[in-house]
């Protein structure tokens, strides 16, 4: 294709794109320079130098097919969407060339028109993007006050939160859930029921007769949280031991102190050392 140089020149319009310009060697055809098959078609179409709605789709189809042919000669794999486009254009070409048959669906001419329209649309958006960035961009052509003293916008709600922030918060949350089997750090400040039971069992024989349950709580616990958990666990442990027949519990009035003693006739587990 002799017009390759001119073809690449069309890409200069966008200043913000800093992709290195493809080499102008007509033998090197690099698909990486294009934004898909429609982009190639648009660039080819511009060579016809007429309004896109007036272009010869037949000629365009031939150009595209030749282009793909060229690319395939140099490089084996061509992205699937280019091949789909090539196949479709070949189909369109045959439809345009063959005499019109009575059949379902749009005619070749209608399809050609639609393609031209789609190219026109894409071109319009490219032009628009360019104009947008060449317009009165705030921060470039027009600057806001550099040193505002700080009137904040009066929002109509007291809290400032954008939808994006909300979505991001949710997404972060979801992201964290993506971690499987997260490491969980157990709170070791909890005095477990098991520990309370062991202690009760060990101490039972040493304290005869009714003793307040609170006496069984280790007195070296200073952290209030741990202390409360020890109280709760000791109570639960004592209830369990009553159920097992090792203990008797007594409470004389509501909210009054709870006393405990070893059930008569029962031997306690062991009477070794205290803590």
């Amino acid at each position: 294709m002799a017009d390759k140089g001119g073809l690449f020149d069309q890409q200069k319009g966008f200043e913000v794109d800093h992709r290195p310009e493809p080499p102008k060697n007509a033998l090197v055809v690099d698909l990486d320079g294009y934004e898909g098959p429609l982009d190639v078609l648009l660039i080819l179409a511009r060579d016809q130098k007429v309004d896109l709605l007036q272009i010869s789709i037949l000629q365009l189809a031939e150009q595209f097919l030749a282009f793909i042919e060229e690319v395939r000669k140099l490089r084996l794999e061509v992205a699937a969407d280019y091949l789909v486009m090539a196949a479709w254009l070949a189909y369109l070409k045959s439809k345009l060339l063959l005499p019109q048959e009575e059949e379902e669906g749009p005619s070749g001419a209608q399809l050609a028109e639609r393609l031209a329209f789609q190219l026109k649309k894409l071109e319009a958006m490219r032009g628009a993007a360019e104009k947008l960035f060449n317009g009165l961009v705030t921060g470039q052509e027009r600057l806001l006050r550099g040193m505002p003293e700080g009137v904040k916008v009066i929002r109509h709600s007291k809290f400032d939160c954008t939808l994006l922030e909300l979505l991001t918060a949710y997404a972060d949350q979801e992201d964290r859930k993506g971690i499987r089997n997260p490491l969980r750090l157990m709170r070791n400040a909890v005095y477990s029921v098991e520990a309370a039971m062991q202690r009760l069992e060990r101490m039972l024989g040493k304290l005869p007769d009714w003793v307040e349950l609170s006496a069984y709580i280790p007195d070296n616990i200073t952290d209030p949280f741990t202390r409360r958990s020890a109280q709760a666990s000791t109570l639960v442990a004592s209830l369990q031991m009553v159920k097992e027949g090792q203990l008797e519990l007594r409470q004389r009035e509501a909210f009054g102190p709870i006393s405990v003693r070893s059930k008569s006739g029962e031997t306690s587990g062991s009477d070794e050392e205290d803590i």
């Binding site: 966008f14 913000v16 992709r19 628009a128 947008l132 317009g135 705030t138 600057l143 806001l144 009137v151």
Partner: protein, 200 residues
């Protein structure tokens, strides 16, 4: 000028001190009840039109901005330009002109799959936002542009986009599928991602 001079001074003070453009509701809340905001703004706009900075309306909000013809003077103060890839630029323009628009419709117009990086960049810039859902099967999310977009590009309204009315009149801003390739393939799977687009 028949507008109240005290009110003029208040608007000047507020707009000069504001960190971002203020709308007329914001101004009305600060000013005495009898202030005629539209008349004040009109007077001020006129008053500042030939100064070194002008009163301009962006996204329906007012702000003092330096005069465009002096932008050459202010090189040091300019914000560094966010470099957008061509794909991102095009996607942004498509969203702005067609909003609300779904992902698939964007892909349809560009004729190529939309890589995740692109939307990411536009979200991050604060220029696009999810707008709602299309009431069609699958209820796809639609996207639109934000107020920041309008402010950034110095537009008061979406209608101020370059060539908006002409493009609309020419029917170029419809999002209906062209049905072009239906003949060949029923594309219910999204078009393959263009690996090149990932690079931005």
């Amino acid at each position: 000028m028949t507008v109240n001079h005290d009110h003029i001074r208040m608007v000047e003070a507020l707009l000069s001190a504001a960190k971002e453009p203020l709308d007329e509701v914001d101004l009305a809340m600060r000013l005495p009840d009898d202030a005629d905001i539209p008349a004040l703004m009109e007077a001020l706009e006129k008053y500042y039109q030939h100064k070194g900075f002008n009163l301009v309306k962006v996204a329906g909000k007012w702000a003092f901005m330096t005069a465009p013809d002096l932008s050459w003077l202010l090189q040091d103060e300019k914000e560094s330009i966010r470099k957008l890839s061509r794909a991102a630029l095009e996607t942004l323009a498509i969203i702005a002109y067609h909003q609300p628009i779904t992902r698939t419709e964007i892909e349809e117009i560009r004729g190529v799959g939309l890589s995740r990086g692109i939307m990411d960049v536009l979200f991050e810039a604060g220029w696009i936002r999810p707008r709602g859902r299309r009431r069609t099967p699958g209820k796809p999310v639609t996207y639109g542009i934000t107020e920041d977009f309008l402010i950034h590009f110095g537009l008061d309204d979406i209608r101020d986009l370059p060539g908006f009315d002409e493009l609309k009149a020419a029917g170029l801003l419809t999002t209906e599928p062209s049905g072009l390739f239906d003949e060949l393939t029923t594309r219910d799977d999204p078009p393959a991602l263009d690996p090149e687009e990932e690079e931005d």
